[in-house]
Amino acid sequence: MKTRIIGCGNLQRMDDGAGVLVAQRLRELGILAEVQSGGTFELLAGWDDNERLILIDAVRTGAPAGTIHVWEGSPPQLPHATHFSSHGFGLAEAFRLGQILNCLPERITVFGIEGDQFGMGEQVSPDVLTATERLAQQIAKEFASDLQQEAVQLAE
């Protein structure tokens, strides 16, 4: 099964960079992970030939900073009014549009890391930073065998 891992966000917008940090950490752990801004069309443009999609993004749901949320399904049922990263037009819209255009991957998992600060700057809230490490380790553990196998195939 072809899997794609995408960390979304913007490192210059504080906690909004959480998804990017997870992707960077996964790469250090030897797992193929990409970084995207999280714009609807960036996301959509790369989905149709994937069977399994793992997305990591910063979210604002009102939970304590650093909380890791998980949503699954195709499309995953994201809670209404959840604010994903700093983009008004992002993940939730990509799923809706993907559904209309019939180009959603078969399996989708969204990991949302609850952020706190979304201003200008590179500093990330300590709880969010801790969560990025925990999530990277969790994804690495959960998907390691599949993903490393695919990485080898891709490299070949």
């Binding site: 609807t40 069309f41 037009f89 809706r96 255009l101 200008m120």
Partner: protein
């Protein structure tokens, strides 16, 4: 008509790239005040760049915008190269044009279909539009993908590309890699021509303004990275003279500065300015397609900029094909860039219009000062001027419709307001005289 105080308020203006607010105050039938407030990261980046080595500038400035990172890289690299007195291999120059084609394709496809078209077709957003017109959304996505592939191939990855460098490219593509794009690009030319027809079929308000159009002009090329800065009012300058002719005014209501032509006022940059000043440099097919839909320069109706963007899509796809077909890797992808003190300015044509960078570099190669004037900040005053005129025609309209029309007028400029996030608050208030 009613003289009662009315307020139109949209807390989030979607489908613009950026963060800011717009306030329009109507008194009776008169537009009393228009204020566009912008919170602009380039200012933050200018400070952030000081003390960094010039080799980092391209990667840092690419982060200003997720939509147009290549524009930031190109202006930054050219300005630094000019400060250092570097000469660039013509093959590298061509590759940079190719890189820019990718960004234009991505950005224009996104704006024409997903951000602007819903206004004309009467939908709140692209998702609602896609339900009724899936073929339109599919075409947009196809074009966007091709742009993405080109950018990813050239930049090493799809967003925040990393291959462009002062002196050239860290890594250049092999001819066979670029050739894999040819069939897709041919299809993209067809899809772009369809896009022109689609855009030309939309309905446009009867609204023309007397603009000063400002764009690069090159003797042989439709402009990307090179040329003199010209206008329809006699401007004809080198990038180094930019600050002699343009100045930024502090306005109380905006964090950003208002850019004006000294002694004249607001001006317009972007597709309409490029087309009006350079339509003779388009490819024959792009010219023909424009003529077929009766798009003739000068275009003065900003709502018709959607057709101009579509014509530029045709051009960008054809230009990419032309470059790929003649491509031979540069003998030296990157020339050495030794530390040297100097000042350099550059202007390149971002999808939204000219992007000016100036860097002063010390003898250790560290940035002493940086100045970045993004296209949206240059259009900002012009957007306000348009709204002042346009809102006056809408005073009798129901508030929600008037607000929508004003948002659409803002989107004519494809504003990339913060180049990072996505909130623009629009308020229109109405009072008795």
């Amino acid at each position: 008509m009613s003289r009662a105080a009315r307020t139109i308020r949209v807390d989030t203006l979607a489908r613009v790239e950026g963060e800011g607010a717009m306030h329009i105050n109507l008194v009776g039938e008169r537009v009393a005040d228009v204020k566009l407030r912008i919170y602009e990261p380039p200012r933050f980046f200018e400070a952030f760049l000081r003390g960094r080595h010039f080799s980092e500038v391209a990667d840092i400035t690419a982060r200003i915008c997720g939509i147009c990172p290549i524009a930031y890289q190109m202006s930054a690299i050219h300005a630094v190269e000019r400060a250092l007195g570097l000469r660039i291999d013509p093959a590298v120059r061509l590759l940079r044009r190719l890189f820019y084609c990718g960004e234009w394709i991505e950005s224009h496809a996104l704006h024409v279909y997903m951000l602007h078209a819903p206004d004309f077709l009467g939908y709140q957003d692209a998702i609602a539009m896609a339900k009724d017109h899936p073929e339109v959304a599919q075409r947009a996505l196809r074009l966007k993908k091709i742009g993405n592939h080109l950018v990813a191939l050239m930049g090493g990855r799809e967003i925040h590309p990393i291959s462009a460098a002062v002196g050239g490219f860290y890594k250049v593509p092999r001819p066979e890699q670029l050739r894999t794009l040819v069939e897709d690009l041919k299809r993209a030319v067809d899809a772009s021509i369809e896009t022109v027809k689609f855009a030309a079929g939309l309905e446009f308000p009867d609204f023309e303004q007397d603009y000063e159009f400002v764009a690069l002009r090159h003797p042989d090329e439709y402009p990307f990275n090179e040329g003199r800065l010209v206008s329809n009012r006699g401007l004809d300058i080198d990038a180094a003279e930019y600050e002699d002719h343009f100045t930024e005014l502090h306005v109380k209501h905006a964090n950003a500065l208002h850019s004006v032509v000294r002694g004249r006022g607001s001006y317009l940059v972007g597709p309409m300015a490029r087309f009006n000043l350079n339509s003779d440099k388009l490819t024959p097919q792009a010219k023909q397609v424009a003529a077929d839909v009766k798009l003739n320069p000068p275009v003065r109706n900003p709502f018709r900029s959607i057709i101009v963007r579509a014509v530029e899509l045709v051009f960008a796809c054809e230009e990419a094909l032309r470059i790929i077909e003649q491509y031979e890797p540069p003998s030296q992808p990157r020339v050495d860039a030794p530390n040297r003190a100097g000042v350099g300015q550059a202007i390149t044509e971002a999808p939204r219009g000219i992007l000016y960078h100036r860097y002063a570099i010390d003898e250790k190669g560290l940035i002493v000062t940086a100045k970045i004037v993004p296209p949206t900040s240059q259009n900002q005053k012009r957007i306000e001027d348009d709204l002042r005129e346009y809102a006056a025609r809408l005073v009798a309209w129901p508030l929600d419709e008037a607000t929508w029309k004003c948002e659409q007028a803002i989107r004519n400029y494809d504003p990339c307001i913060s180049c990072a996030t996505h909130f623009l608050k629009l308020t229109v208030s109405r009072e008795e005289r």
